[in-house]
Amino acid sequence: MRRVSTNVLVIGGGAAGMAAAVGAAERGVKVILVERDDRTGGVLNQCIHNGFGLHFFREELTGPEYAERFQKMLTEHNIDTILRGHVWKPLFDENKVWVITASGIWEISYDALVVTTGARERPFGALMIPGDRPSGVFTAGLAQRFVNIENRLPGKRALILGSGDIGLIMARRLTLEGMEVVAVVERLPYPGGLERNVQQCLVDFDIPLLLSHTVVRVEGYPRLQKVWIAKVDEKFRPIPGTETPYEVDTLILSVGLIPEVELFEGSLDIHPKSRGIKVANTGRTNRNNVFAAGNNVVIYDLVDYVSREGFMAGKHAAMFVENPDITKELKRVPIKTGENVAVLSPYWFEPVEDLRLYLRVSKPMEDVILRVKPSIYEKRYERVAPNEMISLTIKADRVSEETDRIEVEVVTNV
């Protein structure tokens, strides 16, 4: 076994991890980044469409272009990057991990750890959709790999379940590459992805978007032949009599992302609802020297936010290395979800840093007030919807020292 040590170890080299590595290295500490894929970038590498970096670089870039910017920074900061490295067993109490690589197993000891393992796609099996188990059902990410990396199509006619951004983008991509996309089906009464993607990926290509619908059965063996969809009621229960068959050989799933946290369960606190790692606004988890950022904390819809949080986590990891005593009188204020807030991050506020809040409302609403209590912040929004994450920054000094609980709510403006 090869043993090395570092100040900051970053697990996962996607958008969050690259930013974390850079954020830590900027403060002059030694950083090692471990990535399980052949290259850094994570999901960015699969997203060869435009739309990345508007916030962060003030430019519109493709996924790989955006990743490249960060890959350059990794090189500039001489960050040791271990590719094709699989973190096997994190040993939190000993501050070390084992990493499996083709050059052997590495034991890496760290002063501070940043986990940026992203999210995985919810698989078909988890949806419990009845019917056959044929070939021809793929997650959007897998289909993207087939198309973008192998230049092969997964079939001739496809139906897409889920109108998240990945689903919408795949609808356009598959159409452009020669497949027929018969519909995008979404069980919510509104699309899951960004409005601009609905317009550019579906409307512009005449692909129907069937809201309040879901797949109720798949048929075919050995290859998929038919997908049955049905209308659903407000509790997402299929309405009898509304079943319609679609003859397709391919079903693409874009039904949500699940934070990749299993490696840390039991050691890091997991949010029971979002299933992401609980963090403070510094990225710090329940462990003083362990930080997390990106989609394993909460599912973001813009990579720019992910990079920003990655940077922040990296920076605070480095600050911990510089002075472990800062956690001695660490103050943490819990942040609670109030009315109409479905998803909220971070989980704690540490006054050493500004508070960047990310939230999703639980339903589409018009003319609302977003309130951070007690009397910390208020803002009016004309329209809010669950598919558009709200992000706002509150200066640290807006939260008074006596505050022992923060609550965020979104209520109708009266």
Partner: protein
């Protein structure tokens, strides 16, 4: 003496492997690309203790005997088997009385160490169990295994000892002459045979009919399952049964050998024509969920990674249908292999060779002196120590390349599986557990296809999921063609 075994489920595979201990020329014919892809692929994977079946039936006799042989067979074949024990839980006095009857029945069947446990002890043994339980029958000899691996491994071992395996080959008829079977006709060849063993699972009745042999009709009884991620942890330590009904053992909650949790099966009778109907249904999955929650109320159903169905080969008389035919001479039926067919399979293998062939057919067994009982399982380094794993990587770096991240399967394991006969994604999946984990192949399917394509020397679009027609990739993208 030439023996043709039809069907490489757990029964046919173990019979074939038992045959090569002796001087038989064995050919195994299987219509799927791999062994163990029929009934053997989707069932509860329990090695039953043997108290369920009425004394005097073949099921009772072979189940108890199979249980006692299981450990040894699994050790030789490198198949996982864990003697977890099982609990049949009673929720009221009426059910508790039925437990007493089960104990008596078990003792008659020769099941060792059966014991009734009262509520307090029971809840200490299984803290997640519904606290409404009043007592349980504890059978320490019950266990869990990986049925498809047992079939795969038995076939590999049979091949090592001289048997021929013909995958993707379907039996379509027989040539009989002078009251004996002479040839087995398949869709691609014909094979000379002195003895034919019909272990065709759900299709055993149809195979018998092709040979002009009687066999009770087989109809499928569907059982659906929910599989929970291993991240759930060991929510139950043992196999948990409700008190059984006439029709089935009920919906269970049990651990799987690789750390997952399995819920199911329900029981729905289907018409004979539905022998390929592996569809899951809303009603079935709901039934399984509800009944499983009655046993273990805090099951995290949201951690489901897969739902699937299996088909039990049922006959009207319920018992296994095992016969040695005299007309045509040499034809052996191993049909009606409902539960506990898996448990009984090592015993059935012996019964066939030592009783049906030797005694009934009067064939003198001649030992195969070179028989080697051992099949080496593909090494799975996560299961061992870091130091060992590290040394493996030194020898061959592909042991250090993780392909399936959920189950930590290395490239070396995938390559080994292909060397051992995997030619499809399912072939790799069932041999290595790659694509078996919580992301269900989202991350690694693509890589495995590339390895298959490279190692088999076929273009990537020819890599299939399983049988012919289960293609994965179609054409090239448009921008690639122009």
């Amino acid at each position: 003496m030439k023996v043709v075994v039809i069907g490489a489920g757990v029964v046919g595979s173990l019979v074939a492997r038992e045959l090569v201990r002796h001087d038989f020329d064995v050919t195994i014919v299987e219509r799927m690309p791999d062994p163990g892809m029929g009934v053997t692929r989707a069932n509860s994977a329990i090695v039953h203790a043997g108290y369920d079946d009425p004394p005097g039936t073949l099921r009772a006799e072979l189940c108890a005997m199979g249980n006692s042989l299981f450990q040894n067979v699994c050790e030789e074949l490198g198949v996982e088997f864990k003697r977890t024990g099982s609990l049949v839980v009673a929720f009221n006095d009426e059910e508790k009385k039925r437990l007493d009857r089960l104990v008596k029945q078990g003792e008659k069947n020769g099941v060792p160490n059966l014991k009734l446990v009262e509520r307090n002890e029971l809840l200490t043994m299984e803290p997640h169990l519904n606290p409404g339980a009043v007592a349980a029958l504890f059978a320490p000899t019950a266990g869990i295994t990986e049925p498809w691996m047992l079939a795969i491994s038995a076939v590999e071992n049979a091949i090592k000892n001289g048997a021929k395996f013909l995958p993707e080959t379907e039996v379509i008829g027989f040539e009989t002459k002078g009251g004996r079977v002479r040839k087995v006709i398949t869709n691609s060849n014909s094979i000379e045979a002195d003895i034919v063993i019909n272990a065709a699972g759900l299709f055993a009745d149809e195979i018998a009919e092709l040979a002009g042999v009687e066999h009770p009709p087989i109809h499928p009884r569907k059982g659906e399952y929910i599989l929970l991620d291993k991240a759930v942890g060991r929510i139950v330590q043992r196999v948990i049964f409700p008190t059984p009904s006439e029709k089935s053992k009920g919906v269970l909650v049990l651990p799987t050998v690789d750390g997952g949790t399995l819920l199911g099966p329900n029981a729905v009778d289907l018409p004979r024509e539905h022998k390929n109907d592996l569809r899951t249904t809303v009603e079935g999955i709901n039934e399984v969920r509800e009944k499983a929650l009655l046993l273990v109320p805090d099951l995290p159903i949201h951690k489901t990674i897969r739902t699937f169905a299996g088909l039990r080969p049922e006959t009207p008389q319920k018992d296994f249908y095992i016969t040695a035919e005299m007309k045509p001479w040499g034809f052996i039926n191993l049909g009606g292999m409902r539960s506990p067919g898996l448990t009984a399979s090592p015993a059935i293998a012996r019964y066939v060779v030592e009783y049906l062939i030797e005694e009934k057919f009067g064939i003198k067994l001649q030992k195969n002196e070179k028989f080697d009982p051992v099949n080496n399982r593909i090494n799975h380094p996560t299961a061992g120590s870091v130091e060992k794993w590290d040394r493996l990587i030194d020898e061959d770096p592909s042991w250090g390349r993780i392909v399936c991240a959920c189950n930590e399967v290395t490239e070396a394991e995938i390559r080994e599986a292909i060397k051992k006969g995997a030619r499809t994604l399912d072939g790799v999946k069932f041999r290595t557990r790659a694509m078996f984990g919580r992301c269900q192949g989202g991350f690694c399917t693509f890589r495995i296809m590339k390895i298959l394509s490279e190692q088999l020397g076929v273009p990537i679009e020819e890599v299939k999921k399983s049988v012919d027609g289960s293609w994965v990739l179609d054409g090239h993208v448009r921008s690639d063609n122009t």
